[in-house]
Every structure is written in C-alpha cells, then in structure tokens.
Symmetry: C2
Amino acid sequence: MTPRRRRGEELVSAIHKAVLAEVAEHGYAGTTYDGVAARAGTSKPVLYRRWPTKAAMVLDASLEASPGLTLPPDTGSLSGDLKAFLRTAQSMMERAGRQTLLSLLAELDRSAGESLRDLLFARGADIIEPLLDRARARGELGDSPLPPRVITLALNLVRHEVVIVGALTEETLDIIVDEIAVPLLTSRSLRGTPGSA
Amino acid sequence: MTPRRRRGEELVSAIHKAVLAEVAEHGYAGTTYDGVAARAGTSKPVLYRRWPTKAAMVLDASLEASPGLTLPPDTGSLSGDLKAFLRTAQSMMERAGRQTLLSLLAELDRSAGESLRDLLFARGADIIEPLLDRARARGELGDSPLPPRVITLALNLVRHEVVIVGALTEETLDIIVDEIAVPLLTSRSLRGTPGSA
DNA sequence: CCTCTAGGGAACGTTTCGTATCTTGCCTGG
DNA sequence: CCAGGCAAGATACGAAACGTTCCCTAGAGG
C-alpha cells in the first residue's frame, strides 16, 4: 500500500469534495467531522486545524462549489432578463441546499457570515444594474434613478421564497417579475417618483 | 420536603417556561433536553414522551408565548396602518429570535413546519386585507382586486429582512412601505392592472 | 542528507442523545 | 375510602459526536 500524503491545495480540495458529499448524503445536520474525515481519507485534527466549526467548513466547501452569479444574455425585454437572472440565483441557492443555508445563517456569527453573504447576496445589485441599463436603452425605463431597495426587490423576494418558504415555482417567479418588480420599476420612472414626503 | 408532582397543563406550562429561559440564556443551539429538564425540575423521559425533537419542543414553547398578530388601530393612512402592522410582525419575530427561527426552519420537516407557519406567517393577509379596506374607504385605493402576492409583499420583505438579513431598522421599514408597497398598491389601482400579457 | 512542517492515526474525557428501568405520587372508579 | 393504574420523576445506560492531545512519519525545502 502506498500511504500517499496530500498537502495544501490538493488536500483542501479533497476535503471540500468530501464535505459536499456528506451533506448531500446525510444533510447538513447529519454531517460530522468524523464522517468528513473518514470520507476524505484524513483525520479530524487536520480538519480542526483549518475550520473551527462545522459551519465554517461547510461554508468554504459550498463557496468553492458555487458558480456565482453572472449577467444573463439579452432576452429582449426587462421581464425576460430579470427572469433569466433570478433563475440562476434560484438554482445557486438550491444547489447549496435550503437546510444548509438556513443552518449556516443560524450558526455563523456576523464575522464569518460575511462570506455567506457572497453566496446568498452575491452582489446581486451589480448584476441587476446592467439589466436595467439594457431596459433603459430599449426605452422600457425612464432615466430617474431608482432606490436601492427597488432594484434588489425581486432578488430579495426570490431569496425569501427559496430560503424561508422553501419553494419557488416558475409561476411564482413570473408573478414576482411581472406583477411586482417590473410594474414598480416602470411606474416609478413614468411618474415622478413621489417619495414618502 | 414536599415532592410535589405536577401533571398535564401545569407541567407543560412549566416546561415551556423553562425552554424559553434556556433558549434566552444559551441560545437555541445551546439548549438541551438535559438543561430543560433540570431547569423545569423534571426529567428527560417526561420531555421525550411529549416532544420527539428539540425543534418541536422549542416550537411549542414559542407558539404558546407568541401574542399573535392583531389588527392595529386606524392611523389615518394606509402607510401608517401598514407600518404599525409590520412593526408588530417584526417584534413578534424578534421575540422568537432569529437564530431560533432559522434553526426551526432548518430542522422541522414539512409536517411539523405547518405550526411554524402560524408563527411566521400568521395569516398575515387576513390582517392586511382590512387595512386595505380602510384605505379604500378613504379613497387611497381603487376597487380593482389586488393579487395575493402584492398584498403580502410588505410582510414578505419584512420577514426577509428580519430572518435572513438579521436587521430591520425603522428607516428600512419606512422605505419598504413608502417606496415599495404603497406605490405598488396604489399605482396598480390607478392604472388598469396591466398584467403580464 | 537533514530538518522541520504538517498529514494522519489513535486514543482520550466530555457532553448530549435517546432509551430502559424502576419507584412513587396522585387521580379515578368502584 | 380503598385499590388500581397511569404518568411523573429519578437514575443509569450505550452510542455517538465533540474537541483535544500525543505521537509518528511522509515529504518538501535547504
């Protein structure tokens, strides 16, 4: 037998793979340091040297596996663009797993939670902005600046449905876009953005 | 010494109280059957006879302690009414605790989760509807029926902020109401509810 | 070739879990 | 009022996971 001994990058990557496999097989709650160590062919001290908690370990593994959000191709309409984008956001969250996301949110403190924000929020506004620019170029939107919360509205609703409610059908996504997000974005720019005062 | 032995209602109530105290003191993750049994002056078998999991036990205790949502007094405007209502919803969720809510969402299966919906969703639409009726009576809204998702929009956003983001300032709540919910509710009724087609 | 770092094995005490067993207070029916 | 039974509460248990310690050694670098 050849007792090969992995190091650094190679080792970490193998551990991440083992973590994701354990989570997929036993769920987040059923994932243990012992189980990961066994599957990865390593030992607990190796894991504890790198991650102080299970949450941190699973988070790192999930982050590595996450494809990240990208700007979808132009579909010809704001509605279509938003739906395409939101679908990638949805699949990203569902890939990580609802139970896992909820557990990470519950267990990670504010400091470690910063990285989790990358997975869950992933600079969503930075992707939606270009979609709105496209829409403006088409004449779907006015030029008045939109409040940040209005921009991220649709993504926040998708996150709410996927993470808290636990389900997001195609139909619901259509409603979020066509009955809520798009009407608000366009009506705001057609009328004078009255504000609260 | 008088080894009084409590039964039924009285016992359950004492246990619930102990559960909430344990959660308040050690957090949801730090709450254990042993700890609850010790604090309640009972024993683990008594707990296991009633609740199969910690999540079910904490849920029951939280439900008993939750005041439930109520119709706020008329503030004279839809914006004011909505804010008053959403503040009670917020305080209800914050009373239960973010970590606790997230953990319960993560651990409860669909069947047991039904009760949790009472705590988190609590027939929100049933309370918002009367607020909208008031607004119609004032002439703030048209008569066209509003889609369900538009009605619960503000509550969903509040839930998202409190549970997922972990913070909801007065300022953010104002924005949700005045820049998102109210504009959408009113613009919808002023224009012909165009829909997606 | 030597050294030093870090991987990996093994075992430890502790905590919590979930259950089984037993005694006994207390409610109920006769 | 007494006899039965039901459930409270105490105790103890094995299993599992935790988090840590000790030690040995593969393998990278000088």
